[in-house]
């Protein structure tokens, strides 16, 4: 089977777009990615479009209505925060199968405002009566397990936000581009202990797109800016005794990443940079260990050491991450792949990870009842 290459990748600036539809945002990202690849909509064989909240509206076909109704097949994907990674993976599978030569993976979202989620079903709202089902509370509780087990401190969780907000000052497409010193992160509004507002992902609109092609097509286009997909894995939450009462960010991520490392034939020590799912500052700490960037119990020391900041041993979320670049749910899983592609090409500007050859993008999605994780490993061609 032929290798799969990414030859186009881009995103729109994340922010609020009250006057535009999700499909318009997705169409803009799709055109940016096509331009980046030097291709047109007529070159596309198939589209995978992700939107957690808008997939049911046939957002992929709506995007084609904006940029050209060429009649190609279009698959609409909703898979919680892993929607974008799922669309990218399906595009990868489609090319890998040999059925298609050029696929567009595009994710677009207009997030609802405020806390996402909320009471569903009949009867009294369980919120407050039976603990909390808000996402900050769930990731606060997951972080407190780490704190209880390993002594991880409030300051160590907060340093994740300091780092990622610092990174986004170098990313013109990030929602926030402002330094947030430790004192400011700690002093911002407490949402659910130990998470303050600046330790929660930025709730924004956005879109991102990638063009995936077969080896034959990549050679036709020239490989100078191509990036090879070395590993692609998607996992559903395996049985754990406390799941789903306790959000289990760990086992599903470990399952996906072990499959991706196996497919790529690499390990965490081979990586030059990582974009991981920092939906909350606690999550980044958990995922350092889940992805094997350090041993179990060492994540607090890892953030303290500066190893995961730009210039460190293994920079994490140099885009600014979900905390600062922003988290338009269905676009996130493609946006973090776009970031990796930029570094592997050496086109990431002020935040470039020097000499980057291998990068990993991870997402974690979940609802109150289920979880999903996606991991992609990309290599400079």
């Amino acid at each position: 089977m032929s290798d799969v290459y990414v030859v186009g990748a881009d995103l729109i600036r994340f922010g609020r777009y009250p006057d535009r539809t999700p499909a318009q945002l997705g169409a803009e990202a799709a055109l940016l990615a096509l331009d980046d690849a030097g291709l047109t909509v007529r070159d596309l064989d198939i589209v995978y479009a992700s939107s957690t909240f808008n997939a049911a509206s046939m957002i992929g076909q709506q995007i084609l209505k904006q940029i050209g109704q060429t009649g190609i097949p279009c698959v609409n994907v909703s898979n919680a925060c892993a929607s974008g990674a799922t669309a990218f993976r399906e595009a990868f599978v489609a090319i890998k199968s040999g059925l298609y030569d050029v696929a567009l993976a595009v994710g677009a979202e207009k997030n609802p405002k405020g806390l996402l989620g909320g009471p569903i079903g009949d009867g009294p709202s369980p919120e407050g009566l039976f603990g909390s089902g808000t996402t900050p509370a769930m990731f606060a509780e997951a972080g407190m397990i780490h704190a209880g087990k390993y002594g991880t401190t409030m300051e160590q969780f907060a340093q994740v936000a300091v780092k990622n907000h610092h990174h986004s000052t170098m990313n013109s497409k990030a929602m926030y581009q402002r330094e947030t010193p430790l004192e400011e992160v700690l002093a911002s509004e407490m949402i659910a202990t130990p998470l303050t507002k600046l330790m929660c992902s930025a709730n924004v609109d956005g879109a991102a797109a990638a063009i995936l092609v077969s080896e034959k097509k990549a050679r036709e286009l020239g490989l100078s800016r191509a990036v090879r997909v070395r590993g692609s894995a998607l996992a559903s939450d395996p049985y754990e005794p406390r799941n789903p009462v306790l959000l289990d960010a760990d086992s599903v991520t470990r399952l996906a990443v072990s499959k991706a490392y196996e497919m790529a034939g690499v390990g965490p020590n081979d990586l030059d940079l990582v974009e991981l799912h920092d939906c909350f500052a606690t999550a980044e700490i958990l995922h350092y260990e889940n992805l094997g960037l350090c041993g179990d119990g060492e994540a607090g020391a890892l953030i303290d050491s500066g190893a995961t900041a730009l210039g460190g041993r293994i920079p994490v979320n140099v885009s600014g991450g979900l905390l600062s670049k922003g988290h338009p749910i269905g676009a996130t899983g493609i946006a973090n792949i776009v970031e990796i592609v930029m570094h592997l090409r050496g086109e990431a500007g002020a935040r470039q990870v020097q000499g980057a050859r291998l990068g990993l993008a991870h997402v974690l999605g979940f609802s109150s009842v289920a979880g999903v994780a996606g991991v992609h490993i990309l290599e400079k061609a």
Partner: protein, 126 residues
């Protein structure tokens, strides 16, 4: 709810592998045995696994409150609100007791009351 009106909590246990779950699937989630896990009544004592003091929630929800995950001694894990404690005194492994309540006084459309529960420190009366 028993016929006597006495509330209790049920978990479900797989007869083949012993896995415990909070609701009854068609086959065991852990070992895939096609014999559905069977209901068992759990006791009301347990220990805190993790917790968070929630200060911001959905609109209209009164804060702050303490949300916690509790492992009951019989193996079932529940999420619930811990009442009557200073959050500073909470810790992993702290023994708690489950207390049934009226779910904030809510009523179904036909006027029937709901039964809810919360946790208190073990030994604390409420």
């Amino acid at each position: 709810m028993a016929e006597t009106g006495e509330p209790s909590i049920e978990g479900f246990r797989c007869a083949d592998c012993g896995a415990i779950m909070i609701d009854q699937p068609m086959a065991c989630r852990a070992c895939t045995s096609r014999t559905p896990p069977q209901a068992f009544r759990v006791g009301e004592r347990g220990r805190i696994v993790t917790w968070s003091t929630v200060l911001r929630s959905f609109p209209g929800v009164k804060t702050p409150f303490v949300s916690a995950i509790v492992d009951l001694d019989d193996g079932l894990t529940l999420k619930g609100t811990v009442r009557g404690v200073d959050p500073e005194s909470l810790g992993v492994g702290l023994p708690v007791s489950l207390v049934f309540d009226d779910a904030g006084g809510a009523r179904a459309p036909d006027g029937a009351p709901y039964v809810g529960f919360h946790f208190v420190k073990a030994g604390a009366a409420e």
